[in-house]
């Protein structure tokens, strides 16, 4: 059983700043890994490195068997990211956006495009241009774009933020269904209560590294600085 993600002493720079300062991480297929940690800990950077968007600086990094130092583009092929931005084009409709990314991933027909939109409950808004969608609808569209590509590795960066009840239901269903669909999920979230029920494992990141998880802090003044945004 080969690992989906394998990181050793990974250092990653943003300009001159070492956002990741030595990360060790293994993720096996079918896991749903929750990544937690305070703001500025490097969680988003970690997700971007796993997505192959950021070039690592030093250490070892393999995603789906591909070395991120030499073969980033291949590593991305069956990876999808739902991040802070939607990656969509303002002047294209929801359908056109999903169709574009589907075609780019090699999906020929429109069937999967319609299915993806239905799955995120955007059927009625399918012909609305991206600019005209609400924030919650846009987040769901980003999820549709990710799912239509049939990814093996699904990366979610604070996916619950900005979602309404429908959106949350859609997202949670998708995450729960992931292992059954052959996907591995790495999810960054501050919504600890929901996320912990979805995840199979939790990893805590702080100061650019993976740190041991202490016992869950009791609700109170000290925890207030970490949960939420």
């Amino acid at each position: 059983m080969s690992l989906v993600v394998r990181l050793r002493s990974l250092v990653c720079l943003l300009g001159r700043f070492p956002a990741l300062a030595g990360v060790d991480l293994d993720v096996a297929p079918g896991e749903i890994v929750l990544v937690t940690g305070p703001n500025g800990a490097g969680k988003t950077t970690l997700v971007r490195v796993l997505a192959g968007l950021l070039a690592p600086h030093s250490g070892e990094a393999e995603v789906r068997g591909h070395d991120l130092f030499t073969d980033r583009r291949a590593a991305r092929r069956r990876t999808a990211l739902v991040g802070h931005e939607t990656y969509c084009y303002d002047d294209l409709t929801a359908t056109e956006n999903v169709r574009f990314f589907a075609r780019a991933a090699g999906v020929r027909d429109d069937g999967p495009v319609r299915d993806a939109l239905e799955r995120v409950a955007l059927g009625p808004a399918a012909d609305v241009v991206h600019r005209g969608l609400s924030a919650g609808q846009r987040r769901r569209l980003a999820l549709a774009v990710a799912l239509v590509r049939d990814p093996e590795l699904l990366l979610l960066d604070e996916p619950h933020a900005g979602l309404d009840a429908t959106g949350r239901a859609v997202l949670d269903d998708a995450v729960r269904a992931a292992p059954g669909e052959g996907r591995t999920v790495v999810m960054v979230s501050h919504e600890l209560q929901i996320a912990r029920t979805l995840a199979t494992r939790e990893v805590r990141v702080d100061g650019g590294q993976v740190v041991p998880i202490e016992a869950a802090p009791a609700p109170g003044p000290t925890a207030a600085g970490e949960s939420g945004r």
């Binding site: 990876t79 084009y89 075609r103």
Partner: protein, 224 residues
């Protein structure tokens, strides 16, 4: 495969333009204003305009092209679309060809309108249509390829608007030169002299298209 992907990217860009109408609504008027300003500067009554029309035409096209290239990459900056395109798994060469094709098509349309403007406003007679059309095609492809290359290089940089002209215009000087000379021959009615310039423009276009296919991918990855 690469052609299908390029067509996908090109149709995406053109569809966005059809909806947003930036090229038609802003860049085209800009080109026409430049043509008009030249008339202010050069005084229509002195009979100079018709003689220098080829040069003025291509200067107007070149300046408009800067805007078109900037716009082609600006659409990728909203909502981190650039990251999205990278994640989408498209080959760098395909994205280059698609974007360059879309820019070239918009430029050709621009040239048609500006050409009409020059003919009407400057009182120009066109004798050698084949020369004019082939020159425009070769020059446009060269400009689009170069523009796409430098566009990606400057894209996402905070100084994009000022860096892009500085990088592009010196490199495009030969295109400016060749296109103007060829047009002069086409308008003056001595077509024989134009063909060497057309050959040079074709060489330039082929060369920079090849460079783009090879280098665009690396530049696309390294940007923010």
């Amino acid at each position: 495969m690469i052609w299908q992907e390029a067509a996908l990217v090109a149709s995406k860009d053109l569809r966005i333009e059809a909806r947003a109408r930036v090229a038609i609504g802003q860049i085209l008027p800009f080109g026409l204003i430049v043509i008009l300003l030249f008339a202010f500067a050069l005084d229509p009554d002195r009979g100079v305009l018709a003689r220098v029309a080829p040069g003025l035409f291509w200067v107007a096209v070149l300046l408009s092209m800067l805007l078109a290239v900037g716009r082609a990459f600006a659409i990728e900056t909203h909502h981190a679309a650039r990251d999205g395109l990278r994640l989408a798994g498209l080959d760098g060469a395909s994205i280059f060809l698609g974007k360059a094709a879309a820019i070239a098509l918009q430029l050709l349309l621009l040239e048609v309108v500006l050409g009409i403007g020059v003919i009407v406003l400057y009182g120009v007679d066109v004798h050698g249509w084949p020369i004019v059309l082939i020159t425009a095609l070769a020059a446009t492809i060269g400009m689009a390829a170069t523009g796409t290359l430098y566009g990606v290089l400057a894209a996402g940089l905070r100084v994009r608007e000022t860096l892009l002209p500085l990088l592009m215009l010196p490199v495009l000087a030969p295109v400016m030169l060749g296109a103007t000379r060829a047009f002069e021959d086409g308008l003056g009615g001595v077509p024989g002299d134009a063909w060497p310039w057309v050959a040079m423009l074709t060489l330039f276009a082929a060369l920079y298209t090849a460079i783009g296919v090879l280098a665009f991918g690396a530049l696309w990855e390294e940007g923010t």
